[in-house]
């Protein structure tokens, strides 16, 4: 024996259960490590356009004149990531690459710190929380590669040298659909595996 209109009850209960489950899924995805993994901009996107003056009075633009620009979202706290510094040292000699440090707010210590760590060719630019938001960056140090056409080529949180160098390799891949899936988020390479 079944009650009249019991379909409504069953349907509403299941609908509400599904809504609650989706809320749970969304809550998990918007907090913790999983959310941080989605920071930055997807490769192929148009990067924000800006021009800022560095401490030496030089105007730095994005998109860059150089073929590739690495925007490091960090400040003097970069000294807490010696491996990232090693990674930057490894790639900063490349002529086709312009590296800039974009701080969230004015950081008097940033430039002396870079000099001290042997990264004195890197321009320090004072950004803003809104510029960070435009790049969808919340956690530092974060690296975004932008090409001269103003397209994001690679983007990720970086904690170690190999991540910096691998991002540069990813940034060199042409913007094709098959490559897009491999960009942005990457996994630690296994022993013996190529990048």
């Amino acid at each position: 024996m079944i009650l009249v209109g019991s379909f409504v009850v069953v349907a509403l209960v299941l609908c509400m259960a599904a809504v609650l489950a989706l809320f749970g899924v969304t809550h998990v995805s918007m907090s913790g490590a999983e959310a941080i993994e989605r920071d930055g901009l997807a490769p192929g996107m148009r990067a924000p356009v800006w021009s800022l003056v560095d401490a030496a009075g030089q105007v730095v633009r994005s998109p860059p004149r150089a073929p590739l620009q690495l925007i490091m979202f960090t400040d003097h706290s970069l000294n807490a990531f010696p491996s990232v510094v090693d990674g930057l040292r490894e790639i900063m000699a490349q002529e086709r690459l312009e590296i800039v440090m974009l701080t969230r707010r004015r950081s008097e210590l940033a430039e002396p710190m870079l000099r001290f760590m042997g990264l004195d060719g890197i321009s320090v630019l004072t950004g803003s929380p809104s510029l960070y938001a435009a790049y969808n960056v919340r956690v530092m140090p974060f690296a975004i590669f932008v090409d001269s056409a103003g397209r994001v080529r690679a983007s990720s949180l970086v904690n170690e040298a190999w991540q910096v160098t691998k991002l540069l390799q990813l940034a060199d891949l042409p913007l094709e659909p098959d490559n897009l899936a491999r960009r942005g988020r990457f996994r630690r390479p296994t022993a013996g595996a190529g990048v």
């Binding site: 079944i2 009650l3 009249v4 209109g5 019991s6 379909f7 409504v8 069953v10 349907a11 509403l12 299941l14 609908c15 509400m16 599904a18 809504v19 989706l22 809320f23 899924v25 969304t26 995805s29 918007m30 989605r38 901009l41 997807a42 490769p43 192929g44 996107m45 148009r46 969808n136 397209r151 042409p174 913007l175 094709e176 659909p177 897009l180 899936a181 942005g184």
Partner: protein, 180 residues
């Protein structure tokens, strides 16, 4: 048995609404999943239109199944859709194994795997179960109940859309950038 049939019917309808709503949040990604299934080289806009069409069709069938439970023909349509899922999963497993299927947009990172084929078969089984007989009284809806169900289905689609958008990269490359 009646309760089982009602649950099966509602579950598949909810699933279609969630899948449709989630896919609509990112048609470009779903279009890239559709592309390998079309043997001809077609324009990106057409792929995008197909992706949106499939998403809307899923949403519409789910919505109709939920708000018009007494229309038995809809059960057959739902079963046909579920069988199409099985066929697509099997084809995907055979020819594009390991690629993202985007069955639920960015909500769940499902891929074309053997487990995916089994999941689709399970959904088809539930859809077949929904073909069973349920008492006419149980399926009788007045206007208020229908409006209530419509609102619940709309809410479910909206939440699925929003959740998929929140979970996905959200800032996907523009099509012309992909074509460079």
């Amino acid at each position: 048995m009646d309760v089982l049939v009602l649950c099966a019917k509602t579950a598949v309808a909810c699933l279609l609404i969630v899948a449709g709503g989630a896919k609509l949040s990112d048609p470009a990604s779903f279009a890239s999943t559709v592309r390998p299934f079309i043997p001809l080289r077609v324009a990106w806009r057409l792929l995008w239109a197909i992706a949106v069409g499939v998403s809307l069709a899923e949403l519409a069938v789910g919505l109709a199944s939920l708000t018009l439970p007494a229309v038995t023909a809809l059960n057959i349509v739902v079963l046909a859709v579920a069988c199409a899922f099985v066929a697509v999963s099997a084809l995907g497993y055979a020819f594009h194994r390991g690629r993202s299927c985007r069955c639920f947009g960015a909500l769940f990172q499902r891929k074309f795997t053997a487990a995916g084929v089994l999941r689709s078969a399970f959904i088809a089984t539930i859809a077949a179960l929904a073909l069973g007989h349920a008492g006419a009284a149980a399926l009788r809806l007045d206007v208020t109940a229908r409006v209530l169900l419509f609102a619940a289905a709309g809410l479910l689609a909206l939440v699925a859309f929003t959740a998929a958008r929140a979970r996905g990269p959200g800032r996907e490359p523009e099509p012309e950038a992909v074509a460079q």
